[in-house]
Amino acid sequence: MIWQFDLIILVFLVITALISLSVKDLLSAAMIFGVYSFLMCLLWAGMAAVDVAFTEAAVGAGVSAVFLIATVLRTSRRSSD
């Protein structure tokens, strides 16, 4: 594990987590949550946990973002906070 790489990804993780929780449009929140999952997958690949990274790439960045988008389109898109 290269610690510079690690630190950059962790800082981006915090930033994407904050953005996806603070943005008003729920569709963009779902997309930024996909970015968060992908950064998490990169971090795990760096930690030599390839199986976990593979699962997260398929599940977190792919399927759970699709589930969130489906629900957002079926309910309302605005958010008050």
Partner: protein
């Protein structure tokens, strides 16, 4: 200065705790139900990240044996330094039974990352996405009943309507 050193030596764990607290804050304080679910996922991934990071070893490879180790008959065809993986002397070969697969192969425990946290967290991720699905289904049901996914509006309706 001491506190700076204490933080920088284990900055990974500090950032895990920050991410976890962000998720907890979103679960408690956010007004929107979908935001709450995103916060729940962030909390979950932070804990999974902590577990995976426990299994990290310096200088260790991914927990899959090399092809050359599993198929030793290919040694002559592929060129390279196969002697790099010399048998270690940690006493594992003392109980070499006759019914073991590849009995001459000795795997050094410090060459590969710890597979146990990976296994536990792998199933946790897939279960996490199905719990996220259940949460989203409940959200849709709430929207069908009340026409809103804001917690304050729903509470208002419950108070005034019933």
């Amino acid at each position: 200065m001491e506190i700076f050193e204490a933080i920088s030596a284990k900055f990974n764990f500090w950032i895990y705790i920050i991410i976890m607290m962000i998720g907890l804050y979103a679960m408690i304080a956010k007004n929107n139900l979908i935001k709450k679910l995103i916060g729940m996922s962030i909390f979950q991934t932070a804990i999974i990240l902590f577990y995976v990071s426990i299994g990290v070893k310096d200088g260790a490879s991914i927990p899959i044996l090399y092809h050359d180790q599993v198929h030793p008959e290919h040694h002559d065809e592929s060129h390279g330094d196969h002697s790099a993986h010399s048998p270690s002397t940690d006493g594992h070969d003392s109980h070499a039974a006759e019914d073991r697969y590849l009995p001459e192969l000795v795997v050094d425990g410090n060459d590969f990352a710890n597979p146990l946290p990976h296994v536990l967290m792998l199933t946790a991720i897939v279960v996490g996405v199905s719990t996220l699905g259940v949460g989203l289904a409940v959200t849709q049901k709430v929207y069908r009943e009340y026409g809103s996914i804001e917690e304050s509006e729903i509470l208002e309706m419950i108070k005034s309507g019933k």
